[in-house]
């Protein structure tokens, strides 16, 4: 069991926020921002839609802890943490595929490495706390501009108590071929994690950001309420891939939003496997002509889980295009909901959107819902929506079993096939991890 070097007692008040800010040696403006956000948080209520949040008690969480001081090298990372990483295949992954790794434990980035050639090109890949101190001008220009504390209850909470996260800056014309990767994990129960990730890709730049979450130790309810803000400038591209596998006692309530300028491309690839309940709808604000937004989402809801996921595409300029592909699997008493918004503003003439959401239900007790919303304020747009719900067919299972597969292998293969259109878009090692996690779930061997 990890013994945190610094941990605040449970509960949330102005004093707690002051302590967080002081411990981080933050500038005054950030403390003010936090206190203001806390005021907004107090004025808001839990949403009366989405997942059941009645058991979530904000005063029963500790909002800040630092497990270890900052470490420079891999060899200094404690053994039990490494074991978790090993199971996830991170060290090899780092050697082979990755341009940089930053791993967040509880609330602070403890290990990060950035390859030399990226630094030379002017790329910044660091933790958000460092960015506040080291790049104040750049940081303040973008911070909380897309997801202000007023946006929703969890964004307000995040703004008040945030800690850690990644900061990525890709200069004009710089194209990063290898994915930037960050793994997050909570391994102390009852500790909320409230990171902020801020990504800026300048004109003509390109990057792929990857994050994965896993929570190896389970205790009482935990909360993960992150904010992700992405700015994709003219003709730039960003792909943001998430594999979410929080333990089944974590509320995962995350706000992700991207601003996409002229001819820029933003892609959210979102895999939700874990957590008790997730509410997450990555958004693209298509503000520039011919901007393109895309969300590919896979969610798996096992017994006791509710995955309320989807996407938002807001077309605010001419000839913008978007595509949402969502696949959900519900097993046992699990519940998956697709919640999506496609909106065409008055300036969006000549734009088009395509939505496809498919649900696979494995048992009679599993549940799937679809809540698509379309708002159109202009003519001359194209909007296509497809939705399917299917059950695991006995005929298909029989076919596979007649070729020698056992029932759980056959079910696993059908589920893999169902989500394969999204898996194909995920880098191989993430896709195989996601597939492995899903197969473990199909075998019922993980909680």
């Amino acid at each position: 069991m990890t013994d945190p070097a610094y941990q605040l007692p449970r509960g949330l008040n102005r004093d707690v926020i002051r302590k967080i800010s002081k411990h981080k040696k933050e500038p005054d403006w950030m403390l003010e921002f936090r206190l203001n956000a806390y005021k907004i948080f107090q004025s808001k209520h839990k949403p009366n839609w989405g997942v059941d949040l009645s058991r979530l008690d904000f005063n029963d969480l500790s909002y800040y802890s630092v497990a270890f001081g900052k470490k420079a090298t891999w060899s200094e990372i404690p053994k039990e943490i490494k074991l978790v990483y090993e199971k996830l295949g991170i060290p090899e992954a780092e050697q082979k595929f990755l341009a940089g790794v930053s791993t967040q434990l509880e609330s602070q980035v403890i290990y990060e490495s950035l390859k030399f050639d990226l630094e030379r090109q002017g790329v910044i890949f660091t933790d958000t706390d460092t960015a506040v101190q080291k790049y104040p001008g750049l940081f303040r220009k973008y911070f909380a501009k897309l997801v202000p504390p007023t946006d929703n209850l969890f964004a307000a909470l995040n703004s008040a108590v945030w800690s850690g996260g990644s900061f990525v800056y890709v200069p004009k014309g710089v194209q990063i071929k290898r994915p930037l990767q960050a793994y997050f994990l909570i391994n102390l129960a009852r500790i909320g994690q409230f990171e902020i990730t801020l990504i800026i890709v300048e004109e003509g730049g390109m990057a792929h950001y990857l994050e994965g979450c896993t929570a190896p130790i389970y205790r009482r309810d935990s909360l993960h309420a992150a904010v992700v803000e992405v700015f994709v400038h003219n003709r730039a591209r960003l792909r943001y891939t998430t594999v979410q596998n929080w333990s089944k006692n974590v509320y995962n309530l995350t706000t992700k939003r991207a601003r996409v300028e002229e001819e820029a491309v933003m892609e959210w690839v979102d895999g939700n496997i874990g957590s008790l309940a997730t509410m997450k709808y990555p958004a693209c604000l298509l503000v520039g002509k011919r901007a393109h937004g895309e969300t590919l989402s896979v969610s798996f809801a096992d017994s006791g889980q509710h995955q309320d996921t989807g996407a938002k595409m807001v077309h605010l300029a001419k000839k913008t295009t978007s595509r949402i592909i969502a696949k959900s699997v519900s097993k046992g008493t699990g519940r998956s909901s697709y919640r999506g918004l496609v909106k065409f503003g008055p300036q969006a003439a000549g734009s088009s959107a395509f939505v496809s959401c498919d649900a696979l239900i494995l048992n009679e007790t599993a549940r799937s819902d679809t809540y698509p919303i379309m708002k159109v304020s202009t003519k001359r747009i194209t909007l296509k929506h497809e939705a399917t719900v299917e059950k695991l067919e006995e005929k298909k299972l029989l076919y596979l079993m007649s070729r020698g597969l056992n029932r759980s292998q056959a079910e696993g293969l059908l589920v893999s096939g169902f989500i394969s259109p999204v898996l194909k878009e995920i880098p191989l090692e993430y896709a195989s991890e996601l597939n492995r996690l899903i197969n473990l779930k199909m075998e019922g061997s993980v909680g």
């Binding site: 029989l398 020698g404 293969l413 893999s416 096939g417």
Partner: protein, 247 residues
């Protein structure tokens, strides 16, 4: 090799097969013919324990009682039954399925090599192999995919249910030749369910079984096929007339 002992098969309340007693030997090829609804496909499905039916009686494989064995256990023992209408498996390729089925037995690269080789032999488009199994394929391609699976799994009892339906002359010849090479062997039992004697020009059967109303009404040599081609199943008393040909 395979023995059905007093096998009775019901679907809900409907009796489909009644007190079947059949014995299939190694090294022999059997043909099962009969009018639509005579119970041929149900017989095939009962060999792989399709849970859609209710069974009474016993099934033996190499003298071992397999009556209570599951579908996958029977497949693992060496029983293969092709599907008349193979199910569409979206996102799963032939390779994905075979990789999972044969894992720990055959190396992955070897599976791939064998698939490519077999596809070449029966002139199956490589694109069909890479894409979702049985999805948007022609009738002929679906049958070829079944035969390739049978070859890879290398079973001892092979039941092809209407594997020749909807095939053009060339495809029929290719498939039949492959079946002949792979499954007409001393250690294998080949059972062909068909409506059409065309395939039997390539695969000469040792024994012909005629089914009607859930029973085997006659059993005999290849000459039976000629009689059926001439007279059909209707309009004459099979049992009485064919019994003269029985040997």
């Amino acid at each position: 090799m395979l023995k059905l002992d007093n096998l009775t098969v019901k679907a809900k309340t409907k009796l489909i097969l009644e007190n079947l007693n059949l014995s299939f030997k190694a090294g022999r090829t059997y043909v099962i013919m009969g009018p639509n609804g005579s119970g041929k496909s149900t017989l095939a499905k009962s060999i792989i324990a399709d849970p859609e039916y209710e069974y009474r009686g016993k099934i033996y494989f190499k003298a071992k009682d397999i009556t209570n064995l599951s579908t996958e256990d029977r497949a693992k023992l060496g029983l293969f039954v092709s599907f008349q209408n193979p199910v569409e498996l979206s996102g799963i390729s032939l390779f994905d399925l075979m990789k999972l089925t044969l894992k720990r037995k055959v190396r992955i690269l070897e599976i791939k090599r064998q698939i490519d080789e077999l596809a070449k032999q029966i002139d199956l488009n490589p694109e069909v192999i890479k894409s979702s199994l049985n999805q948007s394929v022609s009738g002929g391609e679906a049958k070829k995919l079944e035969v390739i699976q049978a070859c890879l799994l290398n079973p001892e009892v092979i039941v092809f249910d209407e594997i020749d339906t909807g095939l053009d002359v060339d495809a029929l010849g290719q498939i039949a030749n492959l079946i002949k090479r792979r499954f007409q062997k001393p250690d294998k039992t080949l059972i062909i369910i068909t409506h059409n004697s065309r395939i039997l020009n390539h695969l000469r059967p040792d024994e012909v079984l005629i089914m009607k109303n859930g029973q085997v009404v006659n059993q005999g040599g290849p000459n039976l096929v000629k009689q059926i081609d001439r007279y059909g199943f209707k309009g004459w008393n099979l049992k009485a007339k064919l019994s003269k040909l029985h040997f």
